[in-house]
Assembly symmetry: C2
Homo-oligomer: 372 residues x 2
Amino acid sequence: MPTAPDQPLHTDTSADAGAIVISVDAMGGDLGPAAVVAGIADSAAKNPALHFIVHGPEAQLGALIAARGIAERCTIRHAEGVVSMQDKPSQVMRSGQATSMWSTIESVRNHEATVAVSCGNTGALMAVSMIRLRKLPGVNRPAIACLWPSRNASGFNVMLDCGADIKADAPDLMQYALMGTSYARNGLGLARPRIGLLNVGTEDHKGRAELKAAHELIAAAAEAGQFDYVGFVEGGDLPSDRVDVIVTDGFTGNIALKTGEGTAKLIADFLSDSLRSTWRSKLGALLAMGALRHLKARIDPRRVNGGIFLGLNGTVVKSHGSADATGVSAAIGLASQLAQSGFQDRLAARDASVPQSGQDAPLGEIEGGNHS
Amino acid sequence: MPTAPDQPLHTDTSADAGAIVISVDAMGGDLGPAAVVAGIADSAAKNPALHFIVHGPEAQLGALIAARGIAERCTIRHAEGVVSMQDKPSQVMRSGQATSMWSTIESVRNHEATVAVSCGNTGALMAVSMIRLRKLPGVNRPAIACLWPSRNASGFNVMLDCGADIKADAPDLMQYALMGTSYARNGLGLARPRIGLLNVGTEDHKGRAELKAAHELIAAAAEAGQFDYVGFVEGGDLPSDRVDVIVTDGFTGNIALKTGEGTAKLIADFLSDSLRSTWRSKLGALLAMGALRHLKARIDPRRVNGGIFLGLNGTVVKSHGSADATGVSAAIGLASQLAQSGFQDRLAARDASVPQSGQDAPLGEIEGGNHS
């Protein structure tokens, strides 16, 4: 049930009234602005309601956008500077005002756009998002939520935090459970998500002290939060259909995410080697090509491209640095889905009302959408 | 270069002088003693130098062993009790003396066997191993080392700790680097292993405080320890050929291990689904069957079955609880390789001489084998 954003879009850009405006950082990705603009063109063709504010060097972007025939769908916002993958977040925070990344976040801060998308340096993007958008009231540590291929009906689980912060205390983990619930409801359409807390075993006595404390906090918040708490889950449960949202600290989440990606890549490469090894297997691969393509699509990281920054006054989608046009388009697709569902307003309403204990908030009523 | 163990084998069992004696817990695995005895029979056929002390209920084991025709290769050690997967380590430590697991460790403690193998409850096995074998001098936290399928020439990387302890301080991580070096040298035959420290980024300023401290300690120990320190590695590097040994705390290592296994299983299942989806893909799969079998073997967790407990006065191999005969045989194969290489004696000599700072130990000379 999409609801209208509570902040009116400023229509002094070339956006039509009622359009969804996405702010896109054209710079900072490994493949350069051509891949980003190609992804924008793909998204524009798929969804006529989208308008884009594209940030980067005006002359370069103007040529790329004109070549794609999408000039009417895009507003170019000139920015000379580019944040590189090597730049330290602290540097960018101090002196990154002239970069395309900063400008991209600024459009969300100014309510010109509903969601920002960038392929750039994650640490810098989080740092700029934090200081320009600021944390939602009641949120101590923002988180990055990622989608994970799974056996679920939707094909995905959500994991957070995937690396916004290197640690999380028990109240942070409880907050992640609430933010993850909102995201699964609005991003994956799950009315009552199942939440699990990542640990090294499923027994109640296992794990670190903060996990045992978080276990109690999340269990106590489940009824009011309208989610099902399945308790501790293990690394093997990440792609399972036991759980929809996996809560963990950003250190562990980042290691798990990259381990899963690395394992998938290893197996794909081994499979490719094996199928090329004999003429019989080559012929077999040719016959099975449709099936193998289907498999590739199911586990393609580009299909799940886009980590979401949660817990800020504005939604930011972080695309993989190596994203190509397909990857950028996937990230924009996720951004527009969240924009259309009024996700940010629901999240803000929910989080603002959650006391630190997390036990007494009437979350169910808030999630129902009765916010102005 | 295998060296003779410095402790004579007690030949009052039916072991031949010069035989490698492996102590095997027949109970506690998910598939029961029949699978374990089948694994022993497979190992016995492969390696005529092996003798086994098999622990569990005498009548039951006697029948299984006789049926496999390996009675001459096995000594049965009667134990009535079985440690279940649900038993808490603390309970087993207090009152597990009559269990097959306890008896299995006891044979290593008494120098009747060189290595112990069990498919049972990991926590209980570590607890019993700790109190009966005790930690090596200079080791604060023992670790579990696991093999990981990789792009390396050997086909494997080593990761530790995979879950012996839920935390590790900087000196523990440095100790893991040294123990992992010994294991890679003796278990994988790598003269000068490359060591990496698992983190959320490869830049020096990234990660938790204890990781930055460990980074300095390990770098300083590299020359004396005769390993190459490659610095921080990420989750995606686990299956890479950048590194041979990945050092991390037991919480992170356990999550990464299970995430990798879960991802591999998900992809294998998706592949199987895809290949069954049409008649063309079924025919293709038939033609490519040899190649697909080769792939399966390369990533088969049974092939890499066996976590090694490092840092104790004795070597213990933990097999997967779900191991079948192939898995048990793989674990015994690893155990016998370590027994034959004199691994435990080298490790003990090395660890005993490493001061806490890790900077001044003449590890190279020790590792060369000049210990009596």
